[in-house]
């Protein structure tokens, strides 16, 4: 099961090493396999010791697993990153304006640029937010935009994550691990730092303090608790920012003001970076059986006494059925052409799209509109006839639940695997912060599909991570022959 078309390898093109990877190629050629293995093992020990795990309870086995970390970095030259980050900033601005609009005047729907039914009938659309403008007009304070690459200058947005994107702790800890394990290799590059992300995040959160906040805003992270898969990240960010990580029962609302229970008595909370889903935020407004949230939180929010980041209802902007219209949003709100391309997407609920999808199942990737984590996906070229028949039946039964996209030849980066160093497909999730302005720490989370030929990078499906280096300079693009590396 290999790619039909050869993928773009970010290190080696036509037997030549691309400029940003020149040092890496030299290092890989000069370092014995056992030494790399030893470092990989050390990296694993490091992650295990610090406790950087993601929790998987209820599946048996070790409840706290490590996401495999690959020690060969993924590198972007300065100019490549600049091009990408301009596109990301543009996209996130448009997504935010879209949210402001759909919960306000709905001009884009009235102009007929997005089918109104797609928004109003969508589960991710929160009527509770209609007519309310969050502090600073910001909905997506933290967005994770998943980007894939198919050629030196071809970046595609695979999906937007506007609710509670996770993974930033891997970006930060991955860098820490690399600096510790390979100080010399790092020193031979001019790597743009990422360590200030928590400070940038705190600034962004403080900049959207609610109108009734007096004095310095007090920020807290709201977590579903220690059994959540991203709990480590919640604690890590709280620690780095010097704020409390709270659970629902630690908070209470009195007179529309949110307080946390402390050993010195109640303390007012102004900005909540919440890492729980909309549905669980407030049992009085959303799911009544939720014990993760806080009763009265939405009333406090609407009264201007607390800011929720990201805003409830932001999920309508990253819905897979809305995704095909993001380029339209950029044109509509910003009057610009999108800098980052969307992957062509067929919505199975449209008759002509569905016919195309059913006729080309062996070429396409089919995804659930509500799915995430790489579950419930069909990768056409890697599928069996039975799997395709099964998906065809499911699509016919519930067309609105499925979208399809062409199978992209995701770029590859050399990766240390069982049988040596081999190319593996990667994606990239940069984290875009939006407070007073858009800020992007140069880099992101590179996820790598460790199985040969696999295009699914999710950690739940055998994916790993790599440190992502954005260089502060632009090495001459194509440098030299590989010299035996790769």
């Amino acid at each position: 099961m290999t790619q039909t078309t050869p993928a773009f390898d970010e290190m080696t093109t036509d037997g030549l090493v691309r400029g940003p990877y020149a040092e890496i190629a030299r290092w890989l050629a000069a370092t014995p396999r056992e030494a790399l293995e030893r470092r990989r093992h050390e990296a694993e020990l490091l992650f295990r010791r610090v406790g950087i795990t993601f929790a998987v309870y209820g599946e048996g086995g070790d409840p706290e697993r490590l996401i495999p970390f690959d020690i060969i970095p993924r590198i972007l030259a300065h100019a490549e990153w600049e091009e990408l980050s301009r596109g990301l900033a543009q996209r996130v601005k448009a997504l935010n304006l879209f949210l402001l609009d759909v919960y306000g005047a709905q001009e884009i729907l009235r102009a007929g640029r997005i089918p109104a039914a797609l928004v109003r009938g969508n589960e991710a659309f929160r009527p509770e937010m209609k007519g309310f403008v969050p502090p600073g007009g910001v909905y997506t304070h933290i967005a994770g935009i998943d980007v894939v690459r198919t050629a030196p200058h071809e970046f595609w947005v695979l999906e937007d994550n506007c609710r509670t994107p996770s993974g930033v702790s891997y970006m930060l800890e991955g860098r820490e691990a690399m600096l510790r394990l390979f100080p010399d290799l790092c020193a031979r590059h001019r790597i743009a730092p990422v360590g200030h992300y928590p400070e940038e995040l705190l600034e962004a959160l403080k900049s959207v303090a609610p109108p009734n906040c007096r004095g310095l805003p007090r920020v807290a992270i709201l977590t579903p608790g220690s059994y959540n898969s991203a709990y480590y990240e919640h604690c890590f960010l709280a620690d780095e920012m010097g704020v409390e990580v709270v659970e629902g029962p630690d908070l209470f609302v009195e007179n529309d003001v949110v307080h946390m229970r402390t050993t010195t008595g109640p303390q007012r909370v102004d900005v909540i970076y919440r890492r729980i889903d909309d549905d669980y935020l407030d049992p009085r407004v959303f799911k009544p059986e939720s014990v993760l949230g806080v009763a009265g939180l939405m009333a406090a929010y609407k009264a201007g006494n607390v800011t929720l980041a990201n805003a409830p209802g932001a999920g309508i902007a990253d819905d897979k059925a809305i995704y095909p219209y993001v380029p339209e949003m950029v044109r509509f709100y910003l009057g610009e052409e999108p800098l980052l391309a969307n992957v062509p997407t067929w919505l199975c609920e449209r008759d002509e799209d569905r016919a195309h999808v059913l006729g080309h199942l062996d070429e396409l990737v089919v995804k659930l509109t509500k799915g995430s984590g790489g579950y419930g996906m069909l990768v056409g070229p890697h599928s069996t006839a039975e799997q395709r028949a099964e998906f065809a039946a499911r699509i016919r039964a519930k067309p609105a639940d499925y979208i399809a996209q062409p199978t992209l030849a995701l770029s590859t980066v050399p990766t240390l695997v069982e049988k040596g160093i081999a190319p593996r497909h990667v994606d990239l999730r940069p984290f875009v912060l939006f407070g007073k302005e858009v800020r992007i720490v140069p880099g992101g989370l590179t996820r790598v599909a460790l199985r040969e030929g696999s295009l699914v990078v999710n950690s739940s499906q055998g994916g790993g991570t790599k440190d992502t280096w954005v260089l502060e300079d632009d090495p001459a693009d194509i440098a030299k022959p590989t010299g035996g590396a790769g």
């Binding site: 010791r49 610090v50 406790g51 220690s226 709990y231 480590y232 604690c235 709280a238 620690d239 409390e244 990580v245 709270v246 659970e247 029962p249 630690d250 946390m260 229970r261 402390t262 050993t263 010195t264 008595g265």
Partner: protein, 313 residues
């Protein structure tokens, strides 16, 4: 500090201390069992350990006879017994994980690695030949944890709540160890070799046999043993040493909170005063058991008051 954070820190301190105390208790009971003759005496030693660890009612509910094998299993490994060593390690780690950011890296690693190794224990770990090594390991891990927090934590609120947990648990343990052997100390069982073994056992249970000799330079004698464990501030596991730290810690918290105090502060002060100004002759005359019963009950009440005032606010 969040009340929930304080609660987790407090219980982290308690569970680690309890794991260590259980390991000490088991070590001593193993020794007693190999020194004493006759099934009755041996089972008596195991029953005493169950009582001293507060696990007697739970054990009785299992319906098992107090044989060495059953008691060891119950106190060391039984996941259904919340005070078993493995359950304590699990609970300590659960509390530590819930407040990761309040711990230093060294504390976290001490707990997390202990937990990781505890998960690798098997049936064979608790077999008679392997048990001593396991118990030594538990003791050394709890000492590592105590050292990690003594050496690396800021002297702030987080440190105070861990310490409070450690000391409440330790005071409870020392009082119970004494109480379960109060017959031997009251002279009811004579002054023979058996009593002597029991006196040694009491001192070993709180790592105080050497200390006794350094303090008194004399042979073992019930009243001195009781005095050492109750009233001598220089013994780190004596009840008064624990109470000196409990009172001091509660006072530091109150001062940091602008003088906010509750029943827990009064009770801790009263308990400490009772030990500071009490005389061992009077305690023995009034009945050691009666004194210890009050001590244990009030210690439980103090725990409840701390819970109400700080941890579930």
């Amino acid at each position: 500090m969040l009340s929930r954070t304080a609660d987790s820190l407090y219980w982290l301190g308690r569970y680690i201390e309890r794991a260590g105390n259980n390991a000490r208790g088991l070590q001593v009971a193993l020794r007693m069992a190999s020194l004493t003759r006759g099934v009755d005496q041996r089972d008596g030693a195991w029953r005493a350990l169950l009582v001293a660890s507060g696990c007697e009612p739970g054990f009785r509910a299992t319906g098992a006879a107090p044989t060495q094998e059953a008691v060891v299993r119950h106190l060391a490994a039984d996941p259904a017994n919340p005070s078993s060593i493995l359950a304590c390690i699990e609970a300590a780690r659960r509390n530590a994980r819930a407040v990761r950011t309040a711990l230093t890296v060294d504390m976290w690693e001490a707990v997390n690695e202990t937990w990781g190794e505890a998960r690798r224990t098997t049936e064979a770990t608790f077999a008679p030949d392997n048990l001593p090594a396991f118990l030594d390991w538990v003791k050394s891990r709890t000492i590592l944890f105590n050292g990690a927090y003594a050496d690396t934590m800021l002297r702030d609120e987080a440190w105070r709540f861990v310490r409070l947990g450690t000391m409440i648990e330790r005071a409870d343990n020392t009082a119970r160890v004494l109480d379960v052997h109060h017959h031997a100390l009251a002279g009811a069982e004579g002054q023979g070799a058996v009593a002597y073994v029991q006196w040694q056992a009491i001192l070993r249970s709180v790592s105080a046999l050497r200390a006794y000799h350094w303090v008194y330079h004399a042979r073992l004698e019930p009243q001195r043993i009781a005095e050492l464990l109750l009233l001598r501030p220089e013994l780190p596991r004596s009840v008064i040493a624990c109470y000196a730290r409990i009172e001091e810690t509660l006072e530091d918290i109150a001062v940091a909170h602008g003088g906010r105090r509750g029943e827990c502060h009064r009770l801790a002060g009263e308990m400490h005063a009772r030990l500071r100004f009490g005389r061992i002759e009077d305690i023995m005359a009034g009945g050691l058991h009666a004194f210890l019963t009050v001590t244990i009950d009030r210690n439980i009440e103090l725990g409840r008051q701390i819970q109400d005032f700080y941890l579930q606010a």
